[in-house]
């Protein structure tokens, strides 16, 4: 594991939030947990942005992870959150592995639209499947965490704590990966795929590998969301969910493995405030903030930190 300074800081922030959780309102705790779940999916998306690829179908794996967790709890009575999380990761990773054989061959708009197509196929299947609640989805039973069934008053904190743990493990892993030769290759493929191939590297294999990792990350995010919300439905695979993830990725930037989580949190805040003030036109606020980010911070919120840090030094 690579204990980067920023990851240590993130861990300290997490511990601080958990310690102060008694003072944080429930809605904010919920918003934080959903930001964690979205952030995980966007972390996966960020890997592709590094390779110059945009996936319009990240929701596919988010939804797969959520349904895997939900089904396991509902149909097999397995309610241990650690098990649900692991199975979700495996299920979405397996899905990505299979689809990756096709997707890793494509670049640019074809990659984006193919990924979108697969997520919409899943959406269509789920909507038509009565056994899975069709468009209504189904409720996810209460979960245990390491065998402990948290009381209603602390369940939000417990789930958030688990989400923090998953995030810390994931960002450490992704950070290590991005600094490894395989991670460097990802940027090299964006810059000049032909050259990388002529040096003996397989761009397709590299993209396939990161596609699986990205799928696993999104699946873990989906499982967190399923447990936190206690309900899942097919909109988790709808194209607007993928769109939100791209929005978060642009908002946060690709400068750090932490950026997706900052993006997800800011998105959550904008969404919550916009929705409470204008329930019918909140999308307009989201749209305006996207324009604001693209015009003023094309490298995302993370670039603010870099600018600020440089000025200080």
């Amino acid at each position: 594991m690579n204990f980067d300074k920023s990851i240590v800081r993130l861990a300290i922030v997490f511990i601080g939030i958990l310690l102060l959780s008694g003072f944080i309102p429930q809605w904010a705790m919920f918003m934080l947990t959903i930001a964690c779940a979205n952030g995980m999916a966007v972390l996966g998306l960020m890997l592709f942005l590094r390779a110059g690829l945009v996936s319009f179908g990240q929701a596919l794996f988010f939804c797969t992870g959520a349904y895997a967790a939900g089904l396991l709890a509902l149909k097999f009575d397995i309610t241990e959150m650690t098990v649900l999380i692991i199975v979700s990761g495996i299920a979405s990773g397996f899905m990505a592995y299979i689809l990756g054989f096709l997707l890793a061959k494509y670049r640019g708009i074809f990659f984006g639209l193919l990924s979108l197509a697969f997520s919409m196929i899943l959406y269509g299947l789920l909507v038509k499947t009565e056994a899975l609640g069709s468009t209504d989805g189904f409720n996810v039973p209460a979960v245990t965490i390491f065998g402990w069934l948290p009381d209603l008053s602390v369940v939000r904190v417990a789930v958030l704590g688990m989400a923090f743990l998953i995030i810390l493990l994931s960002v450490s892993f992704v950070n290590m990966l991005l600094k490894s030769p395989r991670g460097l290759l990802l940027t090299a493929i964006r810059d000049n795929e032909i050259r990388a191939e002529y040096m003996g590297a397989s761009a397709q294999k590299t993209i396939h590998l990161f596609y699986v990792i990205s799928g696993v990350l999104a699946g873990l995010g989906g499982a967190i969301a399923a447990v936190a919300v206690g309900h899942i439905d097919p909109t988790m695979s709808f194209w607007t969910t993928s769109g939100e993830m791209i929005f978060i990725a642009i908002l946060g930037g690709t400068g750090s493995v932490i950026a997706p989580f900052i993006g997800a949190l800011v998105f959550g805040i904008i969404h919550t405030i916009a929705f409470s003030y204008s329930p019918n036109t909140w999308q307009m606020v989201i749209g305006l903030s996207l324009i604001f980010v693209i015009l003023l911070l094309p490298n995302g919120l993370w670039s603010l930190r870099e600018k600020f840090g440089k000025r200080k030094s």
């Binding site: 395989r182 460097l184 290759l185 090299a188 810059d191």
Partner: protein
């Protein structure tokens, strides 16, 4: 000769009505230096592209180290030991010179670790016994690029880009290095320095070199053997002092004005 490393057998390639390679037969000895000459469209780059797997010949075979590599993908051919540089340098433009080389040595490291996800940047590459960073720094020094270490590849001057491109190709320690016009686009003054530096760096490992070149002074200075291409055919395959005096070579490639007496003066 017994130590043939590469054998092109009856290579043919056409693009519509244009014949880019017509029955090319060449044997390349290990450790030799070949200069490939010819006017634009004569078939030099087609020949290089067929050896490196970018183009598949319509007929004929490329045998490398006793193995038929004709239908292999470029990366497979690189893994076997043939690497190339490009006429227009192919760099990772958003990265620094150092990072360009780190990626290159990183690929070597990945290959030697069977592509493991847990290949570390700071662990020595088995066959080199050195880390990626150290090897990249050494390569910069060997090619005189240390001062450009932290410059983004996009802003590097032409000659530096050429050198970096070749330094990257050398990271895989190829048995055969193909240089496609290593001095094109470089000022006349720099040409000789660049080529001297390249040949010095490249020849340390007894690498077989095939280079495409338009400057006959550079060809006669570095090549031990010349392949002269015209209209998809090899019209001369001799030592430079003989090939560059060949009447057909003078007529079609070198030009009447380029006096053979000048050859080898540099």
């Amino acid at each position: 000769m017994s130590n043939v490393i590469l054998h092109a057998e009856g290579l043919n390639k056409s693009f519509g009505a244009v014949t880019a390679a017509a029955n090319i037969n060449v044997e390349v000895q290990q450790g030799s230096v070949l200069g490939l000459i010819g006017t634009n469209g004569a078939g030099k780059t087609t020949f290089v592209n067929m050896i490196t797997g970018y183009l598949k010949p319509d007929s004929g075979k490329v045998i490398f180290g006793g193995r038929d590599i004709t239908r292999l993908a470029p990366r497979e051919i690189t893994k076997l030991g043939i690497c190339r540089s490009f006429q227009i340098p192919q760099l990772y433009n958003s990265m620094t010179a150092l990072e360009n080389l780190e990626v290159s040595y990183g690929i070597v490291s990945l290959m030697e670790n069977n592509g493991s996800l847990f290949t570390k940047t700071n662990a020595p590459i088995p066959s080199y016994g050195k880390t990626i960073r150290l090897l990249a720094e050494e390569a910069l020094e060997k090619f005189g690029l240390t001062q450009y270490r932290d410059k983004t590849a996009r802003v590097l001057p032409g000659g530096v880009r050429k050198l970096l491109d070749i330094a990257m190709a050398m990271s895989v320690r190829p048995k055969i290095l193909l240089l496609d016009e290593p001095t094109s686009g470089v000022s006349a003054e720099e040409k000789f320095d660049i080529m001297d530096m390249v040949m010095k760096a490249v020849r340390q490992g007894n690498t077989t070199v095939m280079f495409v070149e338009h400057d006959m002074d550079i060809v006669s200075r570095h090549a031990e053997r010349v392949l002269a291409f015209y209209s998809g055919e090899i019209i001369a395959d001799e030592a430079p002092e003989i090939a560059l005096r060949d009447p057909r070579v003078i007529k079609y490639i070198v030009g009447e004005n380029h006096s053979p007496a000048h050859q080898g003066e540099h």
